[in-house]
């Protein structure tokens, strides 16, 4: 019998037709031209002519693959592809079979392709946001828009954070008008005036340090719609019960060369607008290691009561006027002059109840007082900056005048008395700070200088006060009057540099400081019945302090171990002289303050730390007077003694175990401190 081959095929296909589209298994081996099996080759199955993959596998270490699939088609395409080989495609019938591939090496060069243009442009370290896209109907100022930008947060005090860290500079058209007091722009500039908000990531504001000192902080730059923008905000609101007002007039003129901002704001609605002039950045503030506090407090007036998380607007009883003027002008090439002048007139009223508990050796004393306070403050400040910021050098000179006139009117009611306390704490202050960084060879030298003058005639009166009567044999209604006048000159200059060698960093700073101050005080009692004034005590104190300091330090760091050793030494000469009392004291001493610390992670969960510090100090001239001085209605102090010398050793070792999976954290630490003082003061209640 003779069968036609064509018929046979027809019968066979007829027979197998129902199972033709059932599950099939394709397997095979992929080798290169040398016959070596190749791994990670992608084998993809398509229905014939389609580009949609239906099934796929990758070759294993032996170059083998297995694909199981169930497809509704007569024939299939099977393709082997990989980056380093030429792709091969076969057409096969839809049945279980073995398909082997021999691939020829081929290097495919992928082209650079940009797939997607972003709504946020990213150029180098700069992100640009189009304000239009983020603006909402209810937004008025640029701060409202900034708040919505991804990665940006604004804190209650107006401080802007980018990715959790405060920004270090706030620019408008590349100029820093406000030196970190930027809320007055961000909270007053209408969002309509701004076209683009730029975020400079990792921004180093000092250009000579660019590429040298890494900065984790970002800066913000506002680009305006117009080249020269005259803009600003104005608002006048008023209400009754009792009469309330809220006024804000803030015109601005902003351009790429010249900028000006003026502002007048006043309200009695509990809005503390003086926070708009708060310093919100720390860069460029030029701090000194031994600098005395410029906000002198000769009296002890206490601080404001804290109300926790309650919004200040809810409790602040105020009346504030704020006037502010800022200007920035370019002088010669690279040189910039900036002025910032502001005035605050603030009145606050406050009521509180204070309970104090004194635990004495043989008794316990509890005092409960009702405290009514009216705090008024008039504050002027003028700051003038001269700045050059180029790749070659950095110069920043800041001249500042400050006048502060703060008064406290207190009424204190305790169980027995009601006392009136009046405190006047005016001071005026002039200072000049200079910071310059330049290059010598490959290392940078930093030089910093401070010259400051301060004086403050301050007064305290307490009526009635019995604190001194017994001691001085006075009876009747008496008022205590304490006058105090402080005058101070402070100079400080230093130069510093750093070297780095592999894992070691060596830094050195050499400087000298000079402080001269006069403190004149007078304490008297005025008898309101007999009208006799009695002089109780007087100070005419001159203090002098010279200081030369050298701060060398060395640090080492590797993966497990980190240690640092610093040994600041300073030659100090301190003298006190009271001409009226014919008393004087002086001391000349070399003070050491060595410091050592180390950290050693000896295994993943365990860490060992040790540190030791020795500290030598002489007392601060602000806290020294031979004769009595009244600090507040119930505090009287004198420090007629030798010059206090404080020595302190502080040693600390600790070993800690921290397992973050089980959250079993444990730490054993030992702290050892020795304090030595040549003086002990006595306290009498």
């Amino acid at each position: 019998m003779k069968f036609s081959p064509r018929l046979l095929i027809a019968i066979l296909s007829g027979l197998f037709a129902p199972s033709a589209f059932s599950q099939i298994e394709i397997s095979g081996k992929v080798t290169d031209t040398l016959g070596k099996p190749v791994e990670f080759i992608n084998i993809t199955v398509f229905t014939r002519g389609s580009t949609t993959p239906k099934a796929f596998d990758f070759t294993d270490g032996e170059g083998e693959y297995i694909i199981q699939t169930k497809l509704d088609a007569d024939s299939l395409d099977i393709q082997a592809s990989a980056l380093h080989f030429e792709a091969i495609k076969y057409t096969i019938t839809n049945k279980s079979q073995q398909v082997d591939f021999v691939l020829r090496p081929d290097v495919k060069l992928l082209e650079t392709v940009t797939v997607k243009a972003k709504p946020i442009e990213l150029q180098g370290d700069t992100l640009s946001y189009l304000v239009e896209l983020f603006k909402g109907k209810e937004d008025k100022t640029i701060a409202d828009v900034l708040r919505k930008l991804p990665g940006i947060e604004i804190e209650d005090n107006g401080k802007i954070l980018y990715q959790g860290l405060p920004i270090n500079t706030f620019y408008v058209e590349g100029l820093d008008l406000t030196d970190g007091r930027y809320s007055k722009i961000s909270e007053n500039l209408p969002d309509d005036a701004v076209s683009v908000v730029e975020v400079f990531e990792n921004h180093q504001p000092i250009r000579i340090l660019e590429d040298r000192v890494y900065s984790p902080q970002a800066a913000i730059n506002l680009k305006l719609k117009k080249k020269v923008a005259a803009t600003g905000s104005g608002k006048v609101a008023s209400g009754f019960s009792p009469w309330l007002w809220d006024v804000n007039l803030t015109p601005m003129l902003l351009s790429t060369r010249f900028q000006l901002l003026a502002s007048y704001q006043t309200n009695n609605t509990g809005n503390d607008v003086s926070r708009q002039i708060e310093q919100l950045t720390s860069y460029g503030q030029m701090q000194f290691p031994y600098e005395p506090d410029e906000n002198i407090q000769l009296f002890d007036v206490g601080s404001y009561t804290q109300y926790g998380a309650i919004d200040q607007k809810r409790y602040l009883d105020n009346r504030i006027h704020l006037a502010n003027f800022n200007i920035l002008v370019p002088l010669k090439k690279d040189l910039q002059l900036r002025a910032d002048i502001f005035f605050v007139d603030d009145l606050r009223k406050n009521k509180s109840e204070i309970s104090s508990l004194y635990l004495l050796p043989d008794d316990t004393l509890r005092i409960i007082e009702n405290y009514y306070r009216e705090h008024s403050r008039k504050y002027w400040q003028g700051t003038f900056h001269l700045k050059r910021n180029t790749k070659r050098n950095f110069l920043n000179n800041k001249t500042e005048f400050r006048f502060n006139d703060a008064n406290y009117q207190d009424l204190i009611i305790n169980g027995i008395d009601s006392i009136l306390q009046h405190v006047e704490t005016p001071y005026q202050n002039f200072s000049n700070r200079l910071n310059t960084i330049f290059r010598i060879g490959t290392s940078l030298i930093e030089f910093q200088s401070l010259i400051s003058y301060l004086d403050g005639p301050q007064n305290l009166s307490v009526f009635p006060n019995q604190l001194l009567n017994q001691q001085y044999g006075i009876t009747g209604q008496t008022e205590n009057l304490q006058e105090a006048m402080l005058e101070r000159i402070y100079l400080d200059h230093y130069a510093g540099t750093n070297f780095k060698l592999k894992r070691w960093v060596l830094s050195l700073r050499l400087g000298f400081a000079y402080r001269m101050q006069n403190l004149n005080t007078k304490l008297g009692i005025e008898n309101h019945e007999t009208l006799i004034d009695t002089l109780i005590s007087e100070n005419k104190l001159k203090s002098n302090q010279h200081q030369i300091y050298l701060n060398p330090s060395i640090q080492y760091q590797n993966r497990k171990l980190r240690f640092s050793l610093g040994w600041p030494v300073s030659q100090q000469q301190l003298s006190y002289q009271d001409s009226d009392l014919a008393l004087s004291n002086s001391k000349n001493k070399l003070l050491h303050a060595p410091e050592f610390s180390m950290n050693y992670a000896f295994s993943i969960w365990w860490e060992f730390r040790a540190s030791w510090r020795f500290d030598q100090r002489m007392n601060d001239p602000d806290d020294f007077y031979y004769n009595y001085m009244l600090k507040n209605y119930r505090k009287l102090i004198k420090t007629d003694a030798l010059i206090q010398e404080l020595n302190r050793h502080l040693g600390k070792i600790s070993i800690s175990y921290r397992n973050t999976i089980t959250t079993f954290f444990n730490k054993l630490s030992y702290l050892y401190m020795i304090r030595e003082s040549n003086l002990l003061y006595s306290v009498c209640l």
Binding site: V113, V115, Y214, K500, Q555, T660, F665
Partner: protein, 216 residues
């Protein structure tokens, strides 16, 4: 985020982190001012995504490395952890023809668009194993969306580097547990690390914001 594809190993990491790494390295070679010393701490702030994902390192494994203050963890999963389901839909993304595939991973359903035009079986995050590069990936809630922005060829080779550190070997479950523990214990940890009260509050606020992890 960046995906470095090598001959057999690939690395997925944050772009910011990579930049910091380059800056740090440059600084080290030049001998800079000591302010750079704190670079170690800084690194942790710059990007919210501090993880690194190595695929096929070691062979056949996906290695995930990340820091949970104060410990460095790593864990491995098999390369073929993703069970892909190919779909028939196709689209064009940029100049590439892309096909669609689904998988379920880490508590989310993922939609991947891959292109056979680029025969690299890789993609963002841990995702891989499709017959082409994944150029768009998102979960069905669209909480996490990865899109390819740019494909670049490096003329000079860029090494895919490992960080030599005391990594704590763990597994995915324990790692996620440790991450959860950190959130609950953030204030203590911040305090432990010598952060001031304000910083601790900030840390707690940041941790509270991270309430939508990519895997759970």
């Amino acid at each position: 985020m960046l995906l470095f594809v090598g001959k057999s190993v690939s690395l997925f990491m944050s772009k910011n982190q990579y930049k910091v790494l380059l800056i740090g390295r440059e600084a080290e070679s030049e001998g800079r001012l000591m302010d750079l010393l704190n670079r170690e701490e800084i690194k942790n702030y710059v990007s919210r995504f501090s993880y690194r994902i190595y695929k096929n390192y070691p062979t056949g494994q996906i290695t995930y490395m990340d820091k949970i203050i104060p410990t460095y963890f790593q864990y491995s999963e098999p390369l073929d952890v993703f069970q892909w389901q190919l779909a028939d839909s196709s689209t064009t993304i940029g100049d590439f023809k892309a096909n669609c595939a689904y998988t379920v991973y880490g508590g989310r359903r993922w939609v991947a668009w891959y292109t056979t035009d680029i025969p690299i079986s890789d993609g963002p995050y841990k995702f891989r194993g499709l017959p082409g590069l994944i150029i768009r990936l998102y979960d069905d809630q669209k909480h996490y969306v990865f899109e390819m922005e740019k494909l670049e060829r490096y003329e000079e080779g860029v090494p895919i580097e490992l960080i030599d550190r005391d990594w704590v070997e763990t597994n995915r479950t324990d790692f996620l547990k440790a991450q959860e523990n950190l959130k609950r214990d953030i204030v203590n940890r911040a305090q432990e690390a010598g952060v001031d009260v304000e910083g601790q509050q900030q840390a707690a606020r940041n941790a509270a914001k991270k309430n939508n992890p990519i895997e759970f």
